[in-house]
């Protein structure tokens, strides 16, 4: 009985706080994405670098984010696993991690005109990393080469 109460409390608090935090995170992601829209981030290699301009510097830009899933969604995903299909509970988790990582890559890089050869990698980390069937938290890591032209 006590375990059932604890479970219900965890699911309800996970749902309420988790949904609130997720919405707040999405608002912040969307705001920062619109602010940074002027800086192109491309997955192409060097073809996109303007040959006619002189280059001041080219450095590696990195950004990472570890995002954890809430208790309610973990419960929901185990239900969705029974029937198969879209596991919607995990979609927002990886989406948030990747978008946050890309934003951090841009923010942590020195001022630049273009980020070329952007790569994103994702890995499951934390206690549940080596356990089957449970994804606790995912890490997204984005990196690329930030190029700054000389202004003249």
């Amino acid at each position: 009985m006590e375990q059932l109460i604890l479970f219900v409390v965890l699911v309800v608090s996970g749902y309420m706080v988790g949904t609130f935090l997720e919405k707040r995170h999405y608002r912040s992601i969307e705001k920062r994405e619109t602010d940074l829209i002027r800086l192109p981030v491309v997955t192409l290699e060097e073809d996109v670098i303007d040959e006619t301009k002189k280059i001041r510097y080219a450095v590696l830009a990195k950004g990472n984010a570890v995002i954890s899933i809430d208790y309610f969604k973990r419960f929901l995903s185990s239900l969705q696993n029974i029937f198969g299909g879209n596991v919607t509970a995990y979609q927002t988790l990886v989406d948030r991690a990747r978008r946050e990582a890309v934003l951090r890559m841009i923010e942590q890089a020195p001022p630049s005109d273009i980020i070329t050869n952007a790569r994103i990698e994702t890995s499951a980390i934390g206690q549940s990393a080596n356990r089957r069937k449970s994804v606790g938290s995912v890490e997204a890591f984005a990196y690329g080469t930030a190029v700054k032209y000389k202004d003249d």
């Binding site: 706080v17 080219a58 809430d70 206690q127």
Partner: protein
């Protein structure tokens, strides 16, 4: 030391190749961060402790790679790739590799 993940250092020319250089590190988080993370697992959201831990681990791996490149006489590492794997519960390995070159 120039580090890029494209096939050259933009704006410079490569004069000499030194081959593959790499660096790796295996990190585990300490118990305090672990306890905080398990609380955070209830409500979800970012695990800042883990983000920092992996960031530090990548810095260290990159440092090891650049040290190796320096000892070969290179001044740049190009076409750098990162990979992450979890080797054991609570520990993750960061591996970084690239080609050491001299640029002018």
């Amino acid at each position: 030391m120039f580090i890029t993940n494209v096939q050259s250092v933009p704006g410079k020319t490569i004069v000499d190749h030194f081959g593959l250089v790499s660096g790796s590190t295996v990190r585990a988080k300490h118990i305090g961060r672990d306890i905080m993370a398990s609380f955070k697992n209830i409500v979800g959201g970012e695990l800042k402790g883990y983000s920092e831990l992996l960031d530090e681990a990548r810095k260290q791996a990159t440092e090891r790679m650049t040290d190796q490149a320096k000892s070969l006489g290179a001044n740049a590492v190009i076409n750098v790739r990162y990979s992450t794997s979890s080797v054991a519960q609570g520990a993750s390995e960061i591996y970084v590799y690239g080609t050491a070159v001299r640029v002018e």
